[in-house]
């Protein structure tokens, strides 16, 4: 699969080379210490092709994804800046995208955003001027047509060269509609997609088969989301409390079958087995490792998965 290179993104180059890509995730701190971003970044430098910098995830106030993205780039990573529609209208989003591209951000992940009801400011007013699909359209318009939403033209040197990403979740409902939602994202112009954490491989396989059938994997790169289960408690929490995540009983039983101190190891083992399958799954171009507050473990996981060293492109 050869595709035209549209940006200066390392992630795009890795994907276009046909290599199995690996992206990571870095959650900015709930304060302004650059040190924390740098410390987290150390564990990821050289181990991932690009790192998602979350945008006030779960609607909790954190350092902005643009600022933390720049700090992580200074530390040697390539940032994939997340942008949610919850907090900014089209004016603020376009302005931030121009700024991000000017400062060297190459990837932008377009999301609707978690509702503020989950976060630390449930009293806030939300925006949702656009939704994630509209945001993809808007970024593409700026990059490829060289226009703002207003119609205002951008000079050729002033167009944000952003590799456009989005999320996909085969585990949300209605199950039969999920692939059609992704088709809309592809039609809107998304370049790559990263999935929600996968535990239910049966449903994931079914989803990917549909995406392949519909030709979607020829038009965008699909990356599979990996978050190893740390413990039985975490598995139960994810199963019961996180909407849109499915943890099958088989996973729970497998963790139950090992002593507490071995559960984390068992969780990694399950994730490694998934990665092996994903490497050969039709339509899958890489994995997206969301090791939430466990950045230090990414390297050894990827070594075991035989995904290091990362390709230099």
């Amino acid at each position: 699969m050869t595709r035209e290179i549209k940006t200066n993104s390392n992630l795009e180059k890795v994907l276009a080379s046909g290599a199995f890509a690996v992206t990571g995730e870095l959650g900015p701190p709930r304060h302004c210490s650059a040190h924390e971003v740098e410390e987290k970044a150390k564990f990821l430098v050289g181990n991932v092709d690009s790192v998602n910098i979350t945008d006030n995830q779960t609607a909790v106030v954190r350092m902005s994804s643009l600022a933390a993205g720049l700090l992580s780039q200074k530390a040697g990573l390539e940032a994939n800046m997340q942008a949610v529609c919850r907090d900014r209208n089209r004016i603020a989003l376009q302005s931030d995208l121009l700024g991000a591209a000017a400062l060297g951000i190459n990837n932008l992940l377009c999301l609707s955003g978690d509702h503020q009801k989950f976060g630390d400011h449930p009293q806030s007013k939300n925006v949702f001027d656009l939704d994630s699909i509209n945001l993809i359209q808007m970024v593409k318009l700026m990059r490829d047509d060289g226009r703002l939403l207003s119609g205002q033209e951008l000079p050729p040197e002033g167009r944000p060269k952003l590799f456009i990403g989005a999320a996909f979740n085969p585990f949300a409902d209605p199950e039969d509609y999920r692939v059609h939602r992704v088709a809309k994202k592809v039609e809107a112009g998304v370049d790559f997609l990263q999935s929600q954490c996968i535990y239910d491989m049966v449903r994931f396989r079914k989803f990917m088969a549909q995406a392949v059938d519909m030709g979607l994997t020829e038009k965008a790169y699909f990356l599979a989301g990996i978050t190893p289960l740390k413990s039985l408690g975490m598995a139960r929490y994810m199963k019961n409390n996180v909407p849109g995540i499915i943890v099958p009983d088989a996973c729970i039983d497998r963790l139950k079958g090992v002593p507490k101190e071995k559960q984390s190891e068992e969780g990694d083992k399950m994730a490694l087995e998934m990665v092996e399958e994903l490497k050969n799954m039709k339509g899958i171009a890489g994995i997206h490792c969301m090791f939430i507050e466990r950045e230090r473990d990414v390297k050894s996981f990827l070594e075991q998965a035989k995904l290091l060293p990362r390709p230099k492109v």
Binding site: R90, D114, N134, N169, A172, D173, P174, Y177, R181
Partner: protein, 223 residues
């Protein structure tokens, strides 16, 4: 219609604190239908305030009156004679349009809102109301199987359910139905996915409140 509910009684008691003569004004419009501010509810609130004053040994006269509508100057005028009686406070039991119209017509009087105006909606069953419209000023519900995602999706998404839709309910609460679950299920059942596929373009919110406070002038009706 506009759905409202009575404010907590302690807040209303705060409005009448230190007053000896108050008037409660109901409305026979939406708030009568949603059992929040009609003649019956005016009577109940008046009794509560009287009893409370009696219990505390305070002197309080509470008069009651219900207008046909508080959002129409011709009916608001009907209050002129009563207002002459010099009340310390007048409590409107209409949606928030009511106390604003009353304040404009009788600028020397002190008006208080006794209801919280909640939303534009309808009754799902006796005693249960739900929001159905945000008055965006450009209705396109025919594109969504007759359901409004702007109002009924917690994120006002225009292009399908987010990743938090699970078993028909919204990620914000198991009590909130995912409207996109209903819309997409209906479309799939009707085998109309293809008509439904086009991306809903970026919405123009200028007809909504975002364009500033709105006003309609119908020339043919203006005298």
């Amino acid at each position: 219609m506009i759905i409202a509910e009575r404010k907590p009684i302690d807040e209303i008691k705060g409005f009448v604190e230190g007053k000896t003569k108050v008037l409660l004004v109901g409305c026979r419009g939406c708030v009568t239908v949603c059992n929040a501010g009609g003649t019956k509810e005016v009577g109940i609130l008046a009794s509560l305030l009287r009893l409370d004053a009696q219990k505390e040994g305070r002197d309080l006269t509470v008069d009651e009156f219900t207008l046909e509508r508080q959002c129409d100057p011709e009916y608001v005028d009907e209050l002129a004679e009563l207002v002459e009686k010099k009340y310390d406070a007048i409590l409107s039991m209409a949606c928030s349009v009511g106390p604003q119209f009353l304040s404009r017509r009788y600028p020397k009087e002190k008006f208080y809102p006794s209801l919280n105006t909640c939303f534009i909606g309808g009754a799902l069953a006796h005693g249960i109301w739900a929001e159905h419209c945000q008055a965006c000023g450009n209705c396109i519900i025919h594109k969504f199987g007759g359901m409004c995602p702007i109002t009924r999706c917690s994120k006002s998404l225009m292009n399908g359910p987010c990743g938090g839709s699970s078993e028909g309910v919204c990620e914000i609460s198991k009590e909130v139905e995912c409207i996109w679950h209903l819309i997409t299920t209906k479309v799939m059942e009707e085998d109309r996915l293809e008509d439904f596929a086009p991306i809903q373009p970026i919405k123009d919110w200028s007809t909504s409140r975002d364009g500033g406070p709105r006003k309609i002038v119908r020339e043919e009706l203006v005298k």
